[in-house]
């Protein structure tokens, strides 16, 4: 099938501002949007710049705005996107070139929530025990691949770049609700700050955007509730 890709282009070495490039792509209906972008890059215009790696929704490299919604280019099929497919870089981050954005502020927020297990008890000889029920409490948020689709879909984040954003809260949730971890209060205190979880207005854009099917809004609500129940302040 023939489809048209409309791609938001910007080359910092040549362009004063971004513009739309249009490309006719000959694709199989079951091709991924990523395959279409490769068609453009490999046959029509080698200067197109994008990040991608695994090609099947696991590595988190190729989150972008496709037909107005945040998606992984390797996880949506061309046949589901119509005859004209628009592709733009994620919103709310500085565009470095074409579809490549500056991810550093995103990872800085991720690092700020102490995204690692903290447990200073002496290590047991074998594994720490954890019941299947306790393991299930944080299962959903372990799926996060840090693609930034959720954070860059959030209108609060668009208007306030200081907001820690859904992805960092998801990452904090994964440890706050893991009963092997001992630093929930430290993380909750960080998320109780002005830039934290209460900036969320439960708009659900994050949940819609998550390519891993994480119930992001619920995770944020879990965190808000824990802050209130434990009386933590930022």
């Amino acid at each position: 099938m023939n489809v048209t890709f409309r791609i938001r282009r910007f080359n910092p070495e040549a362009d004063a501002s971004s513009y739309w490039g249009a490309y006719d792509v000959d694709a199989e209906p079951t091709d991924r949007v990523l395959d279409g972008l490769h068609y453009v890059k490999w046959r029509l215009d080698g200067t197109l710049a994008l990040r991608r790696s695994c090609g099947h929704g696991i590595c988190g490299s190729d989150a972008m705005v496709i037909n107005g919604r945040n998606r992984l280019a390797c996880k949506v099929l061309i046949k589901d996107m119509g005859r004209v497919i628009t592709v733009e870089p994620l919103r709310g981050f500085r565009v470095l070139k074409d579809l490549i954005v500056d991810m550093e502020p995103f990872f800085a927020k991720y690092r700020a929530v102490k995204p690692y297990l903290i447990n200073d008890d002496p290590a047991p000889a074998k594994e720490r025990l954890q019941s299947p029920e306790d393991r299930a409490r944080y299962d959903d948020t372990t799926k996060c691949i840090l693609c930034a689709a959720c954070t860059t879909a959030c209108p609060i984040f668009w208007s306030d770049g200081d907001y820690v954003g859904p992805a960092a809260i998801v990452q904090a949730h994964r440890f706050i609700f893991d009963n092997r971890d001992q630093a929930a209060d430290e993380r909750l205190a960080i998320l109780a700050e002005e830039s934290g979880a209460f900036r969320c207005r439960t708009i659900f854009n994050c949940t819609d955007a998550c390519p891993r099917g994480i119930d992001v809004t619920r995770a944020i609500q879990d965190v808000k509730r824990a802050i209130l129940l434990r009386g933590v302040s930022g």
Partner: protein, 576 residues
């Protein structure tokens, strides 16, 4: 412009092996991790089914049995001393991951849950054993996340999106790397006492592969160009259950949980070929049997694929134990595995061969185990050899953890002793010429076209079944493509995020590794593990129970050999 940075130790690659080594080094040395991707984008994250370790949580198990399975799975080409080390230390590395927070699935008693996997048996081959420790079918994702988390905790320094171009070697000692900063096109020299390559595999030399686009074997080719041999390159594993045409992996965990393969007649054909292990026979054998079914007219609809049948597992197993692959089938095939059969074909998955190392990750450069001081390798890019002619499922994750840790430990010691002199202040940057040549190329060849032709040729002639005639023809094609590569013209002449240039560089590396793979396959005139020569169908222990060392000397490929270390398991016929 060239900038210069100094560290005690450099780790190239931020997948499982690289991060594990960095964690070992961090308390003792100033270490930096360099990756062409962001760390959590590395392909360890795509590993699905589990990590093998004889914890014995679900039934009796012993690391000696794991060792036997690894050796037998390797078609007796693994070095048995190395396999012993790996299987023994696997147990502790799994506990260590758990203590770092890895969210393993749990038994009702709260222990790490384990499942069956291909080629893993109890009591030296009696029947399947539950050995693969898992977190649903996203075990690799959890390993990568957990180790990256620990790196953050320990303040490991990362250089993300730096493409390594060359090794700095002077007077037979390695003391750093040259890298290209993707953001602005500048070269950076990283000087250090020790360098670890943990750069992953190169499945992208094949058309149908489970491997990420990034897996082009850059570091392996760089080592080869520097005169370091590559070991056992003829052994490339095709995983039997890739999604038809796409190659996306459907984990062996599917069969570990009870899914089976069926042919056009609806027959569970593996019962005929491997009466004990059936669908859990090793991958090399199953991939051959799938194509045997296809050749004998029992592919689905006479075509080149068979079906994987999940339908009897029930929705609970799919949702809780195999959620990701269930979703892959839905998204990419539009099929519901709970109700429909899934078309599968073998997919290029794993390089058993690579940069030769000893059990401490030190790179060795000849059959006498002479090390190249300061240079280490671990993970898929390395060949210890623990996988021999065919790797067992789960053992890649075991490999990256055990040998990532061992390499990190040895490097820490080597750095502390300060054994090597710091390198020259003005390294030879010949590599800069290649970058400028590519950026300014005026030829008429397209990298994308050459890459497609290479991938097709490798798929047609250097995959599951091979013949001398085909391999010879493939080698001619590769040489012709290498010649055309010299005339590549790229469209992007800029400096910032020039992915066009990077893809051309990657193609150069892929062409070299395709050459090493094909030449090694032509050289080995027997069939063993994943290397199946139709003109030499038997295993030949008299002449070929030895490792291949493939060198590039003055543009030509030469071979030497290294004996296999055999400790307790004498080579036997391999039946399952």
């Amino acid at each position: 412009m060239v900038s210069r940075l100094e560290f005690d130790a450099i780790v190239v690659g931020a997948g499982g092996a690289g991060l594990r080594a960095a964690l070992e080094l961090a308390p003792h040395a100033k270490v930096a991790v360099i990756s062409k991707l962001y760390p959590i984008r590395s392909h360890t994250g795509a590993a699905q089914g589990g990590i093998g370790a004889a914890l014995g949580n679900m039934e009796e198990d012993r690391w000696e049995w794991h060792t036997f399975d690894t050796v037998k799975g390797s078609d007796y080409l693994a070095d048995q001393d190395a396999a012993e080390v790996m299987c023994r230390e696997a147990i502790d590395t799994v506990y260590e991951l758990e203590r770092w927070g890895l969210p393993f699935d749990r038994t009702p008693d709260g222990l790490i849950a384990q499942r069956r996997f291909g080629g893993h048996t109890r009591n030296f081959g009696e029947g399947p054993v539950r050995r693969a420790c898992h977190a649903a079918d996203r075990t690799g994702h959890m390993i990568l996340q957990t180790m990256y988390q620990q790196c953050i905790r320990r303040n490991v320094t990362f250089f993300d999106e730096y493409q390594v171009l060359d090794l700095l070697v002077e007077n037979g000692v390695c003391h750093g790397v040259v890298a290209y900063r993707v953001a602005d096109g500048d070269l950076v020299t990283f000087h250090s006492l020790a360098v670890l390559f943990a750069v992953g595999g190169f499945g992208r030399i094949y058309k149908v592969t489970s491997n990420a686009h990034a897996l082009t074997g850059d570091g392996v080719a760089i080592a080869w160009r520097r005169g370091i041999p590559l070991e056992d390159m003829e052994f490339f594993q095709f995983h039997p259950t890739g999604i038809y045409k796409l190659g996306i992996l459907l984990s062996e965990a599917a069969r570990g949980e009870g899914a089976v393969m069926v042919n056009d007649k609806g027959e569970r054909f593996m019962e005929r070929y491997a009466p004990t292990m059936k669908d859990l026979a090793p991958r090399d054998m199953i991939s051959r049997y799938i194509y045997q079914e296809v050749r004998e007219g029992r592919g689905i609809g006479g075509k080149d694929f068979v079906h994987l049948d999940f339908r009897h597992l029930g929705p609970d197993v799919l949702v809780h134990k195999l959620p990701d692959i269930t979703e892959f089938v839905r998204v990419y095939m539009g099929l519901d595995p709970a109700r429909e059969l899934v078309p599968i074909q073998p997919t290029a998955h794993y390089a058993m061969g690579g940069i030769p190392t000893d059990i401490d990750g030190r790179v060795i450069i000849d059959e006498h185990d002479t090390p190249l001081l300061g240079f280490y390798a671990a993970g898929e890019c390395a060949c210890v050899s623990v996988h021999g002619a065919n790797r067992l499922g789960t053992n890649s994750l075991v490999d990256i953890l055990v040998f990532g840790r061992r390499a990190g430990r040895h490097m820490a010691e080597y750095v502390r002793e300060g054994a090597a002199a710091a390198g020259s202040h003005n390294p030879d940057l010949a590599i800069r010429g290649e970058i400028e040549r590519l950026r300014g190329g005026t030829g008429d060849e397209s990298a994308a076209t050459i890459r497609e032709m290479l991938q097709q040729e490798m798929m047609d002639k250097v995959s599951v079944f091979r013949t001398g005639g085909d391999l010879d023809a493939a080698l001619q094609t590769i040489h012709a493509l290498q010649e055309r590569f010299r005339r590549v013209r790229i469209a992007d002449r800029g400096r910032q995020f020039n992915t066009d240039l990077l893809e051309a560089l990657e193609l150069g590396y892929m062409l070299d590794l395709a050459e090493a793979t094909t030449a090694s396959a032509l050289h080995r005139t027997e069939s063993r593990g994943a290397h199946s020569r139709e003109d030499y169908p038997q295993r030949d222990d008299v002449n070929w129970l030895k490792h291949t060392l493939c060198y590039r000397r003055d543009g030509r490929v030469e071979f030497r050999h290294k004996p296999v270390v055999i400790t307790r398991f004498a080579p036997k016929e391999r039946t399952y």
